[in-house]
């Protein structure tokens, strides 16, 4: 019963304190806000139920992560208060048992945590049933959903986290160590798990196990495997990987508790730390004993008076900084940050620096900008540990003297508060400087391990110390100032963390302007092609502005600094008043003046020179657009058949003008009396016509102009519309290059301007709001986001392509690129001009580039192939061309001729990866693409990716998908299918197999088994993966020619209208014999999944010298409905069985000895096949035509002596 007493006392003690309640309050608010604003990413812009079990569980998971960082004090206090306060000898010497003492304290902490976590469910309930909730998105109240989230997620987490926090605090004797325990869990649950998962260092199931809090394990499971329907209705329970995860971690917790119980002693705690104990053992010396003090006469102490000039102050500041740095750097979390963490980064980088299985060049820019730097308000992955530790260290530093009760001695020394504060701040800054140094070391080490020796240390120094360090320094000032002002250890941590959350989620809460979010600002960016691209100026102005705020914070901290015994509000106010010296006033005044001046300057740039439009405002404008001009949808408008452009780019002053005209034809049966023009946002557009007209309306806010023609445009008649678009850089805007994406930027080197700056004709339904929530908010009728393919008008016209003629001028040292064939280039007035034109109508987006490009040009038949690459990135020219040529060759033969006389592949400035298609005959590749560094094994992924993008020139450019369900299968699915066939055609099946194993990886698109069938697919896995798999399987069953023939027909039939999966299915059906119709149906019309497993393969040599192979296989086929229910169905199709010779070096499988489709039924069965050569491996569906999980389809063959088998069968 002592246990109960201890428990009761501890509960009562902590419940009288503020921190448990404040932690709970934080969780209530966090859960409420995250439920309301749906922080939880909803994959699709479809309606969701606010109180669905999915949302409740997701909010619980994320809240647990916050709770982990907010509330460790509860367990820390329970575990270590006695030691920390020095009361422990009284307790330890009492007759209470170890189990009772630890048990009582632990259970009290656990109960408190359980209570605090109730706040999450409370917040979720308030979000749904509290004032202001939208009843439209509230489903029925299901108590079980809350109970499940609390019971299955929160309670196990409470146990796990309490265990770690309690153990850390107990063993170290410091309540604050509980935070370290928490950080460890947080670190495991988020960065480590994500890393393991993405890097494939461990199998996904193992990676999921490493997540103690379930953030990733639970969210990944639900996000990727649950359909929208399930997300709204399915009850959350623990099963599969989630259940195993919980059980494993509960087991680990119990184990830790047992170990702690065994290790813990009611013993005197020596003050030595583990490090000195170790050193002690190492050196083998004991400290000198205290020599008996003889009562000798005093020695004279030199009488040195202190001096208190600026030099001394400086020395004092530095001394405090040094000593602060040393405490942190030698503490366990400090060692983690400065040693273990960079080491882990090296591991991460060495492993992650690859794409599609191809190593990436560890260029310094890539390493620094992808792995080592981030804006503090936008934390990525593992780097979030730095701000969290800065918060922790700030608390430790502010409380350093008081923690060891040295505060009275220090406070009585003649040191001004600002020296104490500044010294600690500099100490923290030194830690961050050390971190930057270690980051540099980590980067250089990574490069060395990769055999890359162009270190560019100066670039590390510039980017890490010049750009990332200020980011951290600003935050450190905030964290330290908060700890000083709050003046309570746990509350300081809590307030600082909440402040950090506010910084991160400011935009979600509606605070968008970077002038209002501490330390925020446009991000800098650096790429090899465009350098800083003008991003330094805006970044610097914002940072200077925030540095002025930091100075104010420092003044506030000095005034609020607690010195001496009293920390009551009145005392502190009195002390603050007392400390307002002239110097302080001057500093504060200077800071305020700087804030005003810099803030004013920034505001002038972002809001006066440039329009600052908030997200809310954008949404409002789109709603307004639909409300006011939606009636014009479908109103007959002339179509553009020819575009003429004169684009003048001025990279040096970052300006451009685009003057041009559209030839507009009335293709309708009625005369057109007015032209509706939608100008692009943020640019000045002027419009004229070649006949008398009147401007009826020019709404530049919502974006709609109406021009009435005095004389209506008769059917078949045409007119010319001229326009004039101007870009002028005025100061700097609110967003940076990084956040804006690469588009719309005219830069000194690396201009990438899209045609979205040009006006378009007619009302644009695509500008309407999508989100159900937003539409509701603005009272717009509900809209089906994506219509089913059958609902699309089969005759709906495709966006009409137009012929194109553009003259692009730029600086004379740059090359300008535009769609079309290059007709002419010349120099005029010191500027260089290029004329690009296409007599074949082209569609898609018009893009204009200008940079110092290295140009490669060659001819493929009558196609002019041009490559525009950064001069330093030309290593892969030949590889790129190989892909381009092979694609042109193969696709032209299979799907119909390539329609354009030009094809250009342009390097797009910006550090992003991959390739894209911008329109007819234009493929772009990000700078990241040129990091691909294929090794000797021949696989470079470049061929495959180029094949995919080239495929889009048929699928998306020629065959345009309708805006409907299944649209992604038409564009992405067919483009990947084409690439797969191309790879097999050119490089063989082995090469395809190797590439497929990268396609099968869960990143970026994990398998979704319960999605919709392909015909109505909306999720990316279906479009990018299942679509091509199904097409490939079909082409293997039907024959490549038949399937490709069907596709050729499809392109021809849908040349002038939009295509849906229904059209695709019809063409495929037409070439499918009756015997295979069920397979076609299963692949496209329902969600069928095949699972094959070869359990055992044996072979025996026959008398004739042949080999008789016996396979024991298991086969299964299920059909999943949209709610995720799987029904087993019998297998009706023949399945491939393959037997292979031993693999040669570099091969995965050896030469096929036998690959044939055999009748297979569901369940377990044995097959016997005879081959002539010695077999090595065998299996069912060896090329994964139907079983899309690579795994146990193929097994090595066990060779048996003749007779073995018979013996075995007899004995078994």
């Amino acid at each position: 019963m002592r246990l109960a007493g201890i428990l009761r006392f501890e509960l009562a003690y902590q419940l009288r304190r503020a921190w448990p309640w404040l932690s709970m309050a934080v969780l209530v608010v966090f859960a409420l806000v995250s439920t309301r604003v749906a922080i939880v990413p909803v994959t699709l812009p479809e309606d969701f139920v606010l109180n669905s079990p999915f949302i409740i569980a997701s909010v619980t998971v994320f809240s647990c992560q916050i709770w982990l960082l907010v509330a460790p004090a509860v367990a820390g206090e329970a575990a270590a208060r006695d030691v920390h306060t020095g009361m422990y000898p009284l307790v330890y010497a009492s007759p209470v048992g170890k189990a009772e003492y630890l048990g009582g304290r632990f259970l009290a902490a656990l109960l408190l945590h359980c209570l605090i976590l109730l706040g999450v469910q409370l917040g979720s309930l308030l979000a749904v049933h509290g004032p202001g909730a939208n009843p439209d998105v509230v489903g029925p109240f299901r108590p079980a959903a809350y109970l499940a989230a609390y019971g299955f997620i929160a309670l196990p987490n409470a146990l796990i986290a309490t265990t770690m926090q309690f153990s850390a605090a107990l063993l170290s004797g410091r309540p604050m160590a509980a935070y370290v325990g928490s950080f460890a869990l947080f670190f495991l649950s988020y960065p480590v798990t994500v890393f393991l998962y993405i890097s494939k260092l461990a199998r996904p199931e193992i990676a999921m196990l490493s997540d103690p809090i379930g953030v990733f394990a639970i969210m990944n499971e639900m996000m990727s495997n649950w359909t929208i329907v399930e997300k709204n209705v399915r009850m959350f329970t623990l099963e599969g990987p989630m259940l195993i995860n919980r059980l494993v971690w509960i087991g680990i917790s119990l184990l830790v508790l047992a170990v702690v119980h065994l290790r813990f002693r009611f013993a005197h705690r020596t003050a030595t730390d583990p490090v000195s104990r170790l050193l002690q053992r190492f050196r083998g010396t004991t400290p000198a004993p205290d020599v008996a003090a003889p009562a000798r006469i005093a020695i004279a102490v030199p009488r040195v008076q202190g001096s208190f000039g600026m030099a001394t102050r400086l020395r004092q500041t530095l001394a405090i900084a040094r000593s602060s740095f040393r405490t942190i750097a030698t503490s366990l979390p400090g060692l983690f940050l400065l040693a273990a963490y960079p080491a882990m980064l090296v591991l991460i980088m060495v492993i992650e620096l690859q794409q599609w299985g191809v190593p990436l060049l560890p260029r310094t820019v890539e390493i620094v900008s992808r792995y080592l730097t981030f804006p503090i308000t936008d934390p990525i992955n593992y780097l979030v540990m730095v701000p969290l530790l800065v918060i922790f260290f700030s608390g430790e530093l502010v409380w350093r003297e008081r923690d060891v009760r040295l505060d009275e001695s220090v406070d009585a020394t003649p040191v001004p508060e600002w020296v104490l504060f500044l010294g600690k701040y500099l100490g923290l800054a030194l830690v961050l400087v050390a971190l930057m140094t270690m980051m540099t070391v980590a980067g250089v080490l990574t490069q060395t391990f990769r055999g890359y020796h162009d270190f560019e240390v100066d670039r590390y120094v510039t980017l890490l110390f010049g750009f990332q360090l200020p980011e951290y320094l600003l935050f450190a000032m905030l964290a330290l100032a908060i700890q000083v002002v709050v003046d309570h250890k746990y509350l300081g941590q809590l307030v600082a963390l909440v402040a950090y959350l506010l910084l991160i989620f400011a935009d979600v809460l509606g605070i968008e302007h970077n002038l209002l979010v501490y330390s925020a600002g446009p991000a800098w960016s650096f790429t090899e092609m465009r350098g800083f691209g003008g991003s330094v100026g805006p970044w610097l102005w914002f940072k200077l502005y925030w540095a002025a705020w930091a100075l104010l914070l420092a003044v506030a901290a000095r005034l609020a600094w607690v010195r001496g015994r009293e920390s009551g509000l009145a005392t502190r106010l009195r002390a603050a008043r007392h400390r307002v010296t002239r110097a302080t006033m001057r500093t504060a005044a200077a800071a305020v003046a700087l804030v005003l001046a810099l803030g004013g300057f920034v505001f002038y740039n972002t809001n006066v020179l440039n329009a600052h439009v908030t997200d809310d405002e954008l949404v409002r404008r789109r709603a307004e657009y639909e409300r006011q001009y939606g009636t014009y949808e479908g109103k007959p408008q002339p179509a553009n058949v020819h575009t003429e452009l004169r684009v003048e780019l001025y990279p040096a002053r970052r300006a451009a003008t685009m003057r041009g005209s559209y030839r507009l034809v009335n293709r309708h049966e009625v005369p057109i009396d007015s032209v509706h023009v939608e100008p692009a946002f943020y640019v000045d557009t002027r419009v004229t016509f070649d006949r008398a007209f009147r401007r009826v309306l020019a709404d530049d806010v919502a974006g709609h102009h109406i021009y009435a023609l005095d004389e209506p445009l008769q059917p078949g008649d045409s007119l010319t519309m001229g326009f004039d678009v101007r870009f002028e850089r005025r100061g700097f805007g609110h967003g940076g290059l990084r956040s804006n994406g690469a588009g719309q930027a005219i830069l000194e080197n690396g201009t990438y301007l899209t045609g979205s700056a040009l006006p378009v004709i007619g009302y644009q339904p695509l500008r309407e709001l999508w989100g159900a929530e937003e539409r509701r908010e603005y009272g717009l009728p509900r809209q089906v986001t994506l219509p089913p393919p059958g609902d699309v008008d089969p005759g709906m016209a495709a966006g009409v392509p137009a012929t194109f003629d553009a003259i692009v001028g730029t600086d004379d040292d740059q090359v300008a690129v535009a769609p079309g064939a290059l007709r002419r280039t010349w120099i005029e007035n010191g500027r260089r001009y290029f004329r690009y034109a296409s007599d074949v109508p082209i569609g898609g987006m018009h893009v204009f580039f200008s940079a110092d490009y290295a140009v490669h040009r060659e001819q493929w038949k009558d196609v002019d192939v041009q490559l525009f690459l950064h001069p330093g990135h030309t290593k892969h020219v030949e590889r790129l061309l190989r892909g381009v040529r092979a694609s042109l060759e193969y696709y032209s033969a299979q799907f119909g001729p390539y329609p354009f006389p030009f094809l250009k592949l342009v390097e797009q400035p910006g550090n992003f990866f991959g390739m894209g298609v911008d329109g007819s005959g234009v493929i772009t590749a990000g700078e990241g693409f040129f990091l691909l560094d294929p090794q000797g094994n021949g696989f470079d992924a470049i061929f495959e990716v180029v094949g995919h993008e080239m495929g889009h020139q048929w699928w998306a450019v020629q065959l345009k998908p309708a805006f409907a369900e299944g649209g992604g299968v038409i564009s992405e699915g067919l483009a990947w299918y084409s690439a797969m066939r191309l790879v097999q055609h050119v490089k063989g099946r082995e090469a395809l197999r190797r590439f497929m194993s990268y396609m099968r990886q869960p990143n970026p698109w994990p398998q979704i088994r319960t999605g919709r069938p392909l015909l109505r697919a909306i999720d990316p896995w279906a479009s990018y993966r299942k679509g091509p798999y199904a097409m490939y399987a079909l082409s293997e069953y039907l024959g490549e020619d038949r399937v490709n023939g069907a596709l050729r027909t499809l392109i021809r039939n849908k040349a002038s209208s939009l295509a849906t999966t229904v059209d695709l299915y019809r063409e495929l059906e037409a070439v499918t014999p009756d015997s295979l119709r069920p397979l076609l149906h299963d692949l496209f019309a329902v969600n069928a999944f095949w699972t094959f497993d070869t359990e055992r393969a044996t072979a025996v040599r026959t008398e004739t010298g042949a080999w008789r192979v016996t396979l024991e296989v298991e086969a299964r086929k299920v059909v999943a409905d949209s709610a995720g229910v799987e029904n087993e169905v019998p297998i009706g199709e023949r399945i491939e069985i393959g037997i292979f010779a031993p693999a040669k070096p570099g091969e995965v499988l050896g030469a096929p000895l036998h690959v044939q489709k055999h009748p297979i039924r569901s369940g377990r069965q044995t097959l016997t096949i005879t081959v002539q050569e010695r077999p090595d491996r065998a299996g069912i569906d060896p090329y994964n035509l139907l079983d899309w999980d690579e795994g146990d389809n193929i097994e090595p063959i066990e060779i048996e002596a003749p007779g073995d088998r018979a013996d075995r069968e007899r004995t078994s």
């Binding site: 020695i299 004279a300 001394a319 001695s409």
Partner: protein, 306 residues
């Protein structure tokens, strides 16, 4: 330069009146502040050490306003708190050097010299490289003394300094203090009467936030001469003695009780004259037979005897 405390009062938020209208004049030299635990000694010391504020009153060190100009006070202040800790992972030499710098001794060589001298003075020289975490209570206390002596203080405040010291250390320390007292104000708070009687030229007795007596120890003792009487009695006789006489203290001696009483003339009844000592002064003042309590005519309070 003397320290003048005038009408200082301090009340804690929880209602405890820690100091009530305390006025003292402390000349250079050793000054003892004697009082039981909880008397307000430490509060007064901390106020003098700039770590707490007084609600009322004024304190001046020479011309320096102690309450208003804390920064200036700290420059001439040495302070040994009653209770303090150290950074466990730092050596004595390092931490003392750090404190020397905080005291304004910026020059490295001067700092090294004074650190060495103080470590030798406090007998910590041989263990100067050892981490403070491994120090015994006495060593830690001596380290605190070294810190307090840094920067040539004009005002040295030592709060219960002898508590953790062994007899030899105590003697050494007190000698050191009196040496410093030759040209500084040294204020020593203690509840050990001998600390004061041996060294202090002046003293005050404080209890429940009030100064009961301010005196020179020798004179105070001599003033009691002829007024202290003692008698050895059995325990059973004690209550009656306490009723009839102004008992100053009772002590057990070999199973019998020695009772000392305060009386202007012989109480007879077996009492014999006793030679007064400072302890008698202390207890007499606490009991209200002399000093402020008597002036206030407050009802005599019984003092817990030991």
């Amino acid at each position: 330069m003397e320290l003048r405390i005038r009408g200082v009062s301090k009340r804690y938020p929880n209602g405890v009146q820690a100091l009530h209208d305390v006025s003292l004049t402390i000349p250079p030299g050793m000054y003892g502040l004697l009082g039981p635990n909880g008397a307000g000694k430490s509060t007064l010391m901390r106020i003098l050490a700039t770590l707490q504020d007084a609600d009322e009153g004024s304190i001046h060190l020479g011309d320096l306003d102690v309450l208003a100009r804390k920064d200036e006070v700290r420059k001439t202040l040495g302070y040994l708190p009653q209770e303090f800790g150290v950074y466990p992972k730092v050596s004595a030499e390092e931490l003392l050097d750090h404190f020397a710098l905080l005291e304004g001794i910026g020059e490295r060589r001067a700092r090294r010299e004074i650190v060495e001298a103080l470590l030798r003075q406090t007998n910590l020289w041989d263990v100067r490289r050892q981490k403070l975490g491994g120090y015994s209570g006495g060593m830690k206390q001596r380290f605190g003394v070294a810190v307090a002596l840094l920067g040539d203080p004009k005002l040295l405040i030592v709060d219960e300094p002898t508590a953790g010291l062994d007899p030899a250390e105590r003697v050494r320390f007190l000698n050191l203090l009196s040496e410093i007292g030759e040209n500084a104000v040294v204020l020593l708070s203690t509840h050990i009467v001998e600390d004061v009687s041996e060294l202090c030229t002046r003293m005050a007795i404080i209890d429940r936030g009030e100064i009961l007596l301010e005196a020179e120890p020798l004179r105070a003792v001599s003033e009691l001469r002829g007024r202290i009487w003692r008698r050895v009695m059995s325990k059973a006789e004690l209550p009656e003695a306490e009723r009839e006489h102004a008992v100053v203290s009772t002590k057990l001696l070999a199973g019998r009780t020695v009772v000392r009483v305060h009386a202007d003339s012989s109480p007879d009844n077996g009492f014999e004259p006793a030679e007064p000592d400072l302890e008698d002064v202390y207890f007499t003042a606490m009991a209200g037979h002399i000093g402020r309590r008597r002036e206030q005519e407050a009802p005599a309070e019984r003092v817990a005897s030991r």
